[in-house]
Amino acid sequence: MTTYILRRIVQSFVVVIFVTVMVFLVMRLLPGDPVLMLVTSGELQEFTQEQIDALREELGLTNPLYIQYVDWLRKAVSGDLGKSLLHRYDIAEEIKRRLPVSLHLGAFSFIIGITVGSLLGAISALRRGKWVDMLVTVAANIGITAPPFWLGILLIYILGLYLGWLPIYGYTSPFVDFGKSMLQSIMPIFCMSLFPIASTARLMRSSVIEVIQQDYIRTAWSKGLNEKIIVIRHVLKNALMPVVTMQGTVLRNIIGGSVVIETVFFVPGMGLLLTNSILAHDYTVVQGIILILALAVVFSNLVIDIIYGWLDPRIQYE
């Protein structure tokens, strides 16, 4: 078990390094130039070619690519993600400020996704063919197919502008103003959790249907247990196995989706910063954020695999 986890951690680092290299290269392959963005962004003053070259030199963009990368990686390992090329703020500090925002929305979406999704899926399977089942199935299909940004815009229009029930943008920490925070996060969390709920519900439904037809469930009935114990003790743990495996995909989806949702609802999290930085060719910021996201995805997958091993005793981590 310990060797397995150690091996997985090493593998995870390899994946993270690979991701950072890819991002490093792709950002530089994109058409556009951060230095030109910088000199044209501010005052309308004319820069001479010498000044531009000097700036490029100062930002370390004239070094060979591999030197730039190794430089960046060396600092990143020690926790220094550098400064924004454009705005000169400290990236690690900025991420530290924005991470709780994204984490707040993402974690809630994830938790709502797995609990509500599993619950709906299980109820749907146990009441197979009844109206609850039909409702859940149709809703799940809509939830899987509806694009979150479209849903976000629709909700902003209906609930925000037309009915005026909910604020249409922004973010407040729940520690500052709980009520306002709740109201502001309802729509983003709904949009982000819809796919997790829908996909989890669908998988859970088919998983429960499969489990209740197993021989060991018949054995459980033959022992005289009631339906409640059979479902909770004998069905759920087995049915959750594939669902837990899928949560890795769901998590990636939430992290990817947060970029879109934070932009739609103008939530000052990592996703919004990432979108803006990509558009501005702010290499260092993009690299920093992607590094954090890659770490989050890779290590949450590791945690999911460990949970899976606890659910299914047949899994041997050798």
């Binding site: 037809q213 197993q214 021989d215 060991y216 018949r218 054995t219 459980a220 009935w221 033959s222 022992k223 005289g224 247990l225 009631n226 114990i229 003790r233 004998h234 743990k237 087995n238 196995m241 659910l311 299914d312 005793p313 047949r314």
Partner: protein, 327 residues
Amino acid sequence: MTMLLKVEDLKTEFKTERGIVKAVDGVSYDVNEGEIIGLVGESGCGKSVSQLSLLRLIPIPPGRIVDGRAFFEGEDLLCMKDEKIRSVRGRKIAMIFQEPMTSLNPALTICRQMTEMLELHLKMDLKTAKERSIELLEKVGIPDAKRRIYDYPHQFSGGMRQRVMVAMAISCNPKLIIADEPTTALDATIQAQLLELINQMVQQSHTAMVLVTHNLGVVARYAQRINVMYAGRIVEAGTVDEIWEQPAHPYTIGLLQSVPKLGAQAGKKLVPIQGLPPNLINLPPTCPFLPRCRYKSRECYREPWGELRHLGGRHYVRCHLDIRGEL
């Protein structure tokens, strides 16, 4: 001997896309206290379904118990309230299933799966239930039971798992054990050990048992009476001696001839029953064994499938031919 279970005219159907399968079509038999009854027949003749129907364990839908009564200690199992039948399942009638590999929950320890019955039916606390479970496992020959009780089913071999199933079945001292082909999935030496074990357990506690199997040899060794099923009905019933000495149904004769015998002349071939069991959708009104029967006559094609005919003693047969003992 007092009668423990009396099944009358049990009928169970399954709805399929191709039509209604009459898996059990009017089965009647009885089981006395402490008696072992053999239920014999080919795969798909309704043996298992007739037993699962008693405890209402068939999946509904597509299954449906259409008709019949099953009096157990004077009460009809088939129209009991759900709560009431749950107090019979496991407590008074326990089952041992065919597939040891899939009949235990892979995600729960043996301890959890054994103690839950004791907690439920005998109202034991967890500690007592654990001790009792360990005792039971030792009784069915699981070595190092104290430690192994915390193992999961996949850590046991097929034979060991079936021993665990036996331990579970006897744990609440049931009045009746239904053993549904308990050894079919095991290899021959393990089969013999397990049958001996089951027999020993039911003898010790004077528990009655319905032993479902397609092996007549097994039945002859352990059972007192035999019911032979074909196409959802009992075609011959009687004591082991009656059926072994003077089989009266062509199907029983066929089954007996296909049992390998120790001491038979070397090189002598077994006589198989030709053909396949009939499709249970839209059976003809005539005897369903007719196409495979070696004794059929012209008359058989005209007559509808008859009722059980008394041959004396406890011997009954569902065939109008008089071919007793023609082995």
